[in-house]
């Protein structure tokens, strides 16, 4: 009888631990998902800002055709990219294209005095920052989640229920994040 109770108690403890560990993993996985959704929102915002920017710049610096075309092309590629790795690459390209555009823009004082352009510039700087910060948060969440799924004894449950590690989101060009800032 006593042994029965002891056995039941042990099973109950293990069951509680299992439930706790499983729920913890679900929470972390959702956090990663959420963080990715945030990056997505910011990337979309940048994609939406670019046509406006290109139109404004065209009005003052229409003959900078190649630079503008590069930005438009990079945007097109970034819009279509799928998955963290591919998207990271495309966004990195877009960042450097934007950086080059901002360097070119330096030569047009009229454009730099345009209120519309100034507002766009603030939005773009901030969106670059927001992409950076949401990426930072995403990678932090992925690290916590991956550490959890890989460490013993939680890795046993993770394996049983198919919790797999997530990919980090790295921009292709590490300097890309700073590039537009230097230009301002």
């Amino acid at each position: 009888m006593l042994i029965m109770f002891a056995l039941l108690a042990v099973i109950a403890v293990i069951a509680f631990w299992l439930i706790g560990a499983y729920n913890g993993l679900v929470r972390l996985k959702n956090q990663v998902k959420n963080a990715w959704a945030q990056i997505d929102v910011q990337l979309k915002r940048r994609h939406d800002l670019i046509p406006n920017l290109v139109e404004t710049v065209k009005g003052y610096a229409g003959h900078e055709k190649t630079t503008l075309e590069n930005v438009v092309k990079a945007r097109g590629a970034a819009v279509q990219a799928q998955g963290p790795q591919e998207q990271g690459k495309a966004e990195g390209m877009l960042s450097s294209a934007l950086g080059r555009l901002m360097v070119v823009v330096e030569q047009y004082p009229d454009l730099k005095a345009n209120q519309n352009f100034l507002a766009l510039q603030e939005e773009l700087t901030s969106t670059e920052n927001k992409i950076g910060f949401s990426r930072q948060h995403y990678n932090d969440s992925v690290m916590t989640y991956n550490t959890r799924t890989e460490s013993f004894p939680v890795n046993v449950i993770a394996g049983m229920f198919g919790f797999k590690g997530e990919e980090f989101f790295e921009l292709e060009d590490a300097a890309a994040r700073e590039a537009p800032k230097v230009a301002f």
Binding site: Q31, N34, S126, N129, K130, S134, H137, M143, T144
Partner: protein, 468 residues
């Protein structure tokens, strides 16, 4: 951080429970004094209801009450895109679910605080003095510090505590008054003189208790919380120098803030009541100097581990700052580069103008640029035809406030307002929602949208004078 969050949860529950017990006991005592036969339980029930009401207030609108006390006004994105974007950036960096609402306090002393009953229902308030002085990186550091407080649930604990303390103060005040005014009547009635003595005793106890509780609140918000929020800020921004240099500027400029209530003081980034930083027992904030030193000793790192190392190096002791569980899950994190916005004269002038604009709009002033470069701020309802520029003495006509007339059921779109321009200069008029709208001489569009009600207003130019 996990440890800090868990401890804040515990303390919030404890505080609510203790206050509830205290109120019920008081209610019972007061009830028993008023009516020895049945009053006790009635008093206890009333007290219980009062406690529930307080809880609802604290959890639903505690931030509002505190903000009103601090005379803070909400801003929109258009008022200060820079501040708005910085807060949004830090919300993303911290993984806070929802962006805090932003308030600005018209006060030249640089300071900031956060309030709110829940992380997803919080506010951040900054003074105009802070906005004037700090560049983007520094502002980011301060906002990140406040969001650190929100994330660590310090803000929730303090908001609940502040509401509870305020309620005790109200009761004690109420009793003092009732004692004062009721004394004459009571004497002639059949009430036991001993009862009056008890009321007196209760009042005295409450009167003593209120400030004591406020003091307790100071202590509860231990100095370690500030260090933790600093560590969070360094991690969120990946740039400890931003907060360090912001703290330096704040420490230089902080004066006793006018509109600070004692219960609010622990919420601020630098204690507004103690202008000069000292490390006495009762101070709610660690000496600012030491906080700066620790941030600067992080040696190119920005993670919790880096902060912990710097903390030990600067303080010399072995006291841990950040809990083991948090430290165990990660390594050193590299800091980033400074952003391009610095402290050049041009940028400082732009910041001053931006802050002036925010304050002007909040106080519903009309801003009129004079030719000499001064922005003159004129109240909307100034009853004069003209005024002089304070610098160069130029005469300016007072923009007359005309109500935009409701357009005749319009051909173009129903409900459109219409305003007829009076001349070629600066003009101001009121939309039917009451919002003042200003148009410049250069304004040249057929319509504009009201900032208040978002309705479209048709602007009609005065017909050109025909040649005689």
């Amino acid at each position: 951080m996990w440890e800090a969050i868990a401890s804040n949860r515990r303390r919030s529950r404890l505080l609510i429970a203790v206050m509830g017990a205290l109120l019920v006991v008081l209610g019972f005592m007061i009830g028993a004094v008023a009516d020895p036969a049945r009053g006790g339980p009635v008093g206890a029930v009333v007290a219980l209801l009062y406690w529930l009401l307080l809880l609802v207030i604290a959890l639903a609108g505690g931030d509002q009450a505190l903000l009103m006390g601090a005379r803070a006004r909400p801003i929109k994105k258009a008022d200060s895109p820079r501040l708005w974007n910085v807060v949004e950036e830090m919300t993303l960096a911290s993984g806070l679910g929802k962006m805090p609402r932003i308030y600005v306090i018209d006060d030249d002393s640089p300071n900031a605080f956060a309030a709110g009953p829940r992380p997803d229902k919080s506010v951040i308030a900054v003074t105009s003095g802070l906005l004037k002085r700090l560049n983007r990186d520094e502002l980011q550091g301060v906002v990140a510090h406040e969001i650190g407080h929100i994330k660590n649930l310090d803000v929730r604990f303090l908001t609940i505590a502040a509401i509870m303390v305020a309620s005790i103060t109200i009761i004690s005040d109420f009793f003092l008054r009732s004692l004062w005014f009721g004394a004459g009547r009571r004497r002639s009635s059949k009430v036991d003189p001993r009862a009056q003595l008890v009321i007196l005793a209760v009042t005295v106890v409450l009167a003593i208790l209120a400030p004591f509780l406020a003091q307790l609140l100071y202590m509860a918000c231990s100095r370690q919380r500030e260090y933790l929020a600093d560590a969070s800020a360094a991690r969120f921004t990946r740039y400890p120098e931003g907060l360090a240099s912001a703290l330096e500027k704040i420490a230089l400029g902080v004066k006793s803030t006018k509109s600070v209530n004692r219960a609010l003081a622990p919420l601020y980034i630098v204690n507004p009541l103690q202008a000069r930083a000292s490390a006495s027992m009762v101070s709610t904030h660690p000496p600012t100097e030491q906080r700066i030193k620790i941030l600067r000793a992080m040696a190119g790192g920005a993670g919790y581990v880096d902060y912990e190392n710097a903390f030990r190096k600067v303080r010399g002791g072995d006291d841990p700052c950040i809990g083991k569980q948090t430290l165990g899950s990660e390594g050193s994190v590299p800091a980033r580069q400074a952003s391009a916005e610095g402290d050049s004269k041009q940028e400082m002038i732009e910041r001053l103008q931006e802050v002036d604009g925010i304050l002007g709009r909040l106080a519903s002033l009309i801003l009129i640029p004079c030719l000499c470069g001064v922005q003159i701020r004129v109240p909307q309802n100034l009853e004069r035809d003209s005024f002089k520029c304070p610098r160069c003495g130029r005469e300016h006509p007072m923009p007359r406030a005309h109500e935009a007339a409701e357009a005749a059921p319009s051909e173009r779109s129903p409900g459109t307002l219409r305003y007829d321009r009076q001349g070629e200069g600066w003009e101001a008029f009121k939309c039917s929602c009451g919002k003042a709208i200003q148009i410049s001489p250069a304004f040249d569009a057929p319509t504009l949208r009201c900032h208040g009600c978002r309705r479209e207003i048709e602007i009609a130019r005065r017909p050109q004078a025909t040649a005689v």
